[in-house]
């Protein structure tokens, strides 16, 4: 069985400040990890993914996440947030690629001007 824990339900941060959204997972087999974002009144979008290879993965809008197998973590970071980053972020895990993905409960990132 696989599970995802996002301990922070809400994270307020000032604009241009750094942010880290925490994600820990459990999985008994090989793992694939994802971060999805849901902007207000929009559908879920894939932000970044770890399927294999480099443990540090990046998105096109400046977010990055590092797969840490020993700590079973996949924290999401951005060095300087923008107002437009205000959204809900979901960490997710799978042992079958995109099939049967297990999502965390989400973290609402509120960027304060």
């Amino acid at each position: 069985a696989q599970s995802v824990t996002q301990l922070d339900s809400q994270v307020p941060v000032f604009e241009e400040a750094p942010v880290e959204l925490r994600c820990n997972y459990s999985s008994s087999v090989s793992v694939y990890l994802f971060w999805y974002v849901q902007y207000p009144n929009q559908g879920l979008q894939l932000l970044l993914k770890y399927l294999s290879g480099s443990t540090l993965v990046e998105s096109i809008n400046g977010f990055e996440a590092e797969f840490n197998k020993s700590q079973t973590s996949f924290h999401l970071r951005k060095p300087s947030v923008h107002i437009s980053d205000t959204a809900e972020y979901f960490c997710a895990v799978s042992d079958q690629g995109y099939q049967k993905v297990t999502f965390g409960t989400g973290t609402k990132l509120q960027v304060i001007p």
Binding site: G43, L44, K49, G97, Y98, T102, F103, T105, G106
Partner: protein
């Protein structure tokens, strides 16, 4: 280009009624997924289709829930004898064939059971 569409966007029904939720995937996508997102929770996997057949329906909570995809394109999620606990946003996603192709999500159908 057209993304995944879901209809209706909102559905209000009474306890005990039957509902159907529709998903139109991206053209050419052979894989289709249904998820349920309850308030304050992340999406929860329900069922996955590859073509016309359900490849994995282990997430369906009970036999009141059923989904079909008769022609390998549009899918319908059917809920019989709805209960208040069925209230949630039902999400559909589609992808190209294969487990490593990105899923694209629709906007969801918000179901409210009174």
């Amino acid at each position: 280009g057209a993304g995944v569409s879901q209809t209706p966007s909102n559905k209000v029904t009474e306890k005990g009624k039957y509902v159907e939720l529709r998903c139109d995937p991206i053209s050419g996508h052979t894989a289709l997924y249904w998820y349920r997102q309850s308030l304050g929770q992340g999406p929860e996997f329900l069922i996955y289709f590859q073509g016309t057949g359900a490849a994995d329906d282990s997430g369906l909570p009970n036999d009141r829930f059923f989904a079909v995809r008769p022609e390998g394109s549009v899918s319908t999620l059917k809920i019989q004898r709805t209960e208040r606990g069925d209230s949630a946003v039902y999400l559909c996603a589609s992808s190209s064939s294969g487990p490593y192709n990105e899923q694209f999500f629709g906007p969801g159908t918000r179901l409210t059971v009174l």
